[in-house]
């Protein structure tokens, strides 16, 4: 009896190691190892201390830091009115408003950049900030309103009865309760804008280079890998700090304040109706303007038919759609398998090991896509040279997408009670059969959503792709960027048309996901 039990436990433990190995190797070889190689190259460059290097790193680092900080503050300010409206009141079109607000967030960065150009924005710091706000408003609205709308109304009433006026109640009760959510949203927005690549490259150019853009310029255009690597180190420091702040707030006691479930919100009355109405309409109008402009401008002069033509320099633009769909399919397959194995491994154990494993898998999402792409070309010449391989693109995409699959499936896997598995085991199911018969059917819906996210992520991925794609192979985002880089109205028109196509495919997948109603958008 004793030995049998021991053998069973051992076999489960070895099974766990087996399941955990695949994602660990995947993330280890394609992410951790390249990062180590970057550190190696970058640190030796820093130790040599080439002339003017420090000043250069400081200048680019400083610009990246302040534009990200300013973007975060502006996003918070811009999101406040709409967040207030959807958190405080129930009104006609509230669901539609919260759905529409998420649209910019799921759009690929090149589409956002192109949309702002179509609206008449020129390359400037103002354009970068505006696009960052546009892109990230959803993060604040969704994260903060999900807490705000759940604050127990009696806490507010208690403040009023104890003698606090409306503004004082907001300042002393509501705001402190929202602080963890605001901090979490801010650190995510900061992370996104700190590592923003496509938007900055399109709306800023090399004149307004952030770390991300400068890494790209040094590595791809000037082929100064050591300098790029030292920039990447500065980048990693910034990203790690932001992630650390985020996780601190996630773990703090205050994260558990929102105990109340969803409640019925009141309808606005009297003058409030006008205020709520105008806040919602104004916010949505501003948010939709770039997209409407992109769509209407793309309709002129046969830009869409132009996509089917062949071009001496860039090839056939429409061919990039086929490439993108193919890469997305492969990336989705890889990330779903790897992500599910990772989620299964993490959910099977509680403890430090699985927590660290979880953190390791989240890192590629937090780290910039450019660092991932850069790492590939620095490191993947060992043990075999993969750098020219077709597989690099889908693997890079899968790396970015794995955390999405893990995030969507892990809560469901954790909700499966151990007794169910035990019952199946008592009835004679092997650990593998238990997983197939119990876990897999329950998790499959969440896995579909995770796969959908992976597909969308791959379709829109630009930063890593621009490093690893060979010049003759284009995905839709890199093709759009090529078209934008060429002078002429027709090229720009075709870039807009291709952006509309990409946005339409993305929106289609996201709408399908939203109907599946499992994952909540904007919770990353």
């Amino acid at each position: 009896m004793d030995t049998g039990d021991g053998r069973l436990r051992r076999s489960i433990r070895w099974g766990w190691v087996g399941v955990a190995t695949v994602p660990a190797l995947f993330v280890g070889y394609f992410f951790a190892y390249p990062v180590v190689r970057i550190l190696d190259v970058g640190l030796s460059e820093l130790s040599i201390g080439a002339s003017g290097l420090q000043a250069r790193l400081l200048r680019v680092g400083w610009f990246t830091l302040w534009q990200a900080s300013l973007s975060t503050v502006l996003t918070l300010l811009a999101a406040t009115p709409l967040t207030w409206a959807v958190s405080s009141y129930e009104f006609k079109g509230r669901r539609l408003a919260t759905a529409l607000v998420a649209v910019p967030f799921v759009l690929p960065t090149v589409v956002v950049g192109t949309a702002f150009l179509s609206l008449g924005f020129v390359q400037s710091i103002g354009s970068i900030l505006a696009a960052h706000v546009f892109f990230n408003v959803a993060v604040v609205v969704r994260t903060v309103s999900s807490v705000w709308s759940r604050i127990d109304p009696r806490l507010i009433e208690a403040g009023r009865v104890l003698g606090a006026g409306p503004w004082q109640t907001f300042r002393l009760v509501t705001l402190p309760l929202l602080r963890p959510a605001i901090a979490a949203a801010s650190s995510i927005v900061f992370l996104f804008t700190f590592t923003s690549f496509g938007v900055v490259l399109i709306l800023g150019g090399f004149r307004f280079a952030t770390l991300e853009v400068e890494i790209y310029r040094q590595a791809v255009n000037l082929f100064d890998l050591p300098l790029a690597a030292s920039l990447a180190i500065v980048q990693l420091i910034g990203v790690t700090t932001a992630l650390y702040v985020y996780s601190r707030y996630q773990e703090s006691r205050s994260a558990s304040w929102e105990v109340a479930g969803a409640r019925l919100l009141p309808r606005p009355r009297g003058a409030m109706r006008w205020l709520v109405g105008s806040v919602v309409i104004a916010s949505l109008t501003v948010l939709m303007a770039p997209l409407i402009s992109l769509f209407s401008d793309s309709l002129g002069r046969g830009f869409y038919t132009g996509l089917f033509g062949s071009d001496a320099v860039v090839g056939s633009p429409i061919a990039s759609v086929g490439n993108s769909l193919r890469f997305a399919a492969i990336a989705t397959l890889i990330s779903t398998i790897v992500g599910l194995m990772a989620a299964a491994a993490i959910s099977a154990r509680r403890g430090t090991l699985s927590k660290w494993f979880d953190m390791l898998l989240m890192l590629p999402l937090g780290t910039s896509a450019v660092t991932i792409g850069f790492g590939f070309i620095v490191a993947l010449d060992w043990p075999v040279d993969l750098r020219a391989s077709f597989w690099l693109i889908p693997i890079a995409h899968a790396l970015v997408a794995v955390p999405f699959v893990v995030r969507t499936t892990l809560p469901t896997l954790r909700s499966i009670r151990q007794e169910m598995r035990d019952a199946a085991a008592v009835l004679g199911a092997s650990p593998w059969r238990v997983w197939r018969q119990i876990d897999l059917p329950i998790v499959s819906r969440a896995a579909m959503v995770g796969s959908g996210f992976a597909f969308v992520v791959s379709l829109g991925e630009f930063g890593a792709t621009s490093f690893v794609a060979r010049p003759n192979i284009h995905t839709v985002p890199t093709m759009i960027f090529r078209l934008l880089g060429r002078p002429g109205e027709v090229s720009f028109g075709m870039a807009m048309a291709l952006s509309v196509l990409l946005a339409a495919i993305t929106a289609g997948v996201v709408m399908w996901l939203d109907r599946a109603r499992v994952g909540e958008l904007g919770r990353f």
Binding site: R154, V161, L162, G165, P176, L177
Partner: protein, 231 residues
């Protein structure tokens, strides 16, 4: 003296209070008794100014309160479920009302209030770490610390287990008497109402059906429902 004069209150177009009428004299505690859903909490919320009164009037010493915003009414309301602020510690919760009165040295008053409810030395405890009975006491201390002219307690013992209720019932009565509180205690339990209040008011479907001491009501019940409900 508080006069609730024939008030009507509707919430989302559903009438909750119909011509509700109640007077509470100075130094008197009225036990508002009725089945759940009869409008007891809404009556308190109307007095506090947390719901709109469609018709009728609420007066304090003859002056209407209806146009006075909640935070200037100078009332105390202890919420069902207590509604303690989770981001503040015990002392900050109890001192919230004093802070609103711009009291520069609330410390002694906070300590005094905590001592009164038997929680001396609890100042720096986190609200989350308290037991149900301790939360109830903190909520009572928070309500009474600013010395409101009128106090309303909404199911003050509602969430507690039976033994604790019995114990706290007596204790609450002593505190209310000692502080010479004027107010209303809402409950759906007859014994609680009798133990904590000087006089009972029976509520049914948004109307006050009868008021008086328990023996007065038992002697001369206004109708069959009252007879069945109080006996």
């Amino acid at each position: 003296m508080l006069e609730i004069d024939q008030i009507d209150v509707s919430i989302e177009d559903t009438p909750i209070l119909r011509q509700a009428d109640l007077t509470v004299g100075n130094g008197e505690v009225v036990g508002l008794l009725g089945p759940s859903g009869s409008g007891k909490s809404t009556l308190l919320r109307a007095v506090a100014g947390l719901v709109d009164v469609a018709s009728g009037d609420i007066r304090w010493d003859g002056a209407s309160l209806l146009d006075v915003p909640t935070h200037r009414r100078g009332l105390g309301l202890m919420f069902q479920g207590y509604a303690l602020f989770p981001h503040l510690d015990v002392a900050q919760n109890v001192g919230f009302g004093l802070r609103m009165q711009r009291n520069a040295t609330p410390g002694p008053l906070i300590s005094e209030a905590l001592e009164m409810v038997g929680l001396a030395g609890y100042e720096n405890r986190e609200v989350d770490s308290l037991s149900g009975g301790e939360k109830q006491r903190v909520a009572l201390a928070r309500t009474l610390a600013p010395q409101p002219r009128f106090v309303m307690l909404d199911e003050p013992l509602g969430a507690l287990d039976r033994n604790l209720r019995r114990m706290l019932m007596t204790e609450m009565r002593e505190i209310l008497t000692e502080r010479e509180v004027t107010g209303i205690v809402v409950t759906h339990d007859r014994d609680e109402a009798v133990a904590m209040a000087d006089r009972l008011a029976l509520m049914r479907e948004g109307t006050i059906v009868q008021t008086g001491t328990l023996s007065e009501i038992l002697d001369r019940p206004a109708n069959d429902w009252v007879r069945a409900f109080v006996s």
